[in-house]
Symmetry: C2
Subunit: 80 residues, 2 copies
């Protein structure tokens, strides 16, 4: 099955990459941008019998930094 | 309004970061992972009168590298 993990910075955590993009958009002349925050997605193809607990475990051990990031697991397709 | 831009590598483009994550997951003992690809999201708060054309323009000029990446614009919330 295909799963997509969304990893985003927790609210309140500074996002220098987002600030840089915000600044660059203004520099390019785009108006009305109020806030920019960058996250990442991890698209995985995993065995159909992969449990939710295993996916959580992957996120907490490797894919997200739990101190400053949140994650959300989305199942895109399930052959089961 | 809030918009979320999803940027992902085009199919066929090598994803070294995804390979590294895949390898690391295997190293941690997770089985059944077949493929990993990394993308990013840009969450923006923009003025309500921002046009779709302007959003496309932002993606093509700055947020995505059109040679190797695709993007998708998702509107999360519209106060209009």
């Amino acid at each position: 099955m295909k799963v997509r993990i969304h990893v985003s910075l927790k609210p309140g955590v500074l996002d220098p990459q987002g600030r840089a993009v915000h600044h660059a958009l203004e520099g390019l002349g785009f108006e009305g941008v109020e806030d920019v925050r960058i996250g990442r997605t991890v698209d995985m193809k995993v065995a159909d019998d992969t449990t939710d607990a295993a996916l959580d475990d992957m996120c907490q051990k490797l894919l997200a930094n739990m101190v400053i990031e949140n994650y959300r697991i989305e199942k895109l397709e399930n052959a089961a």
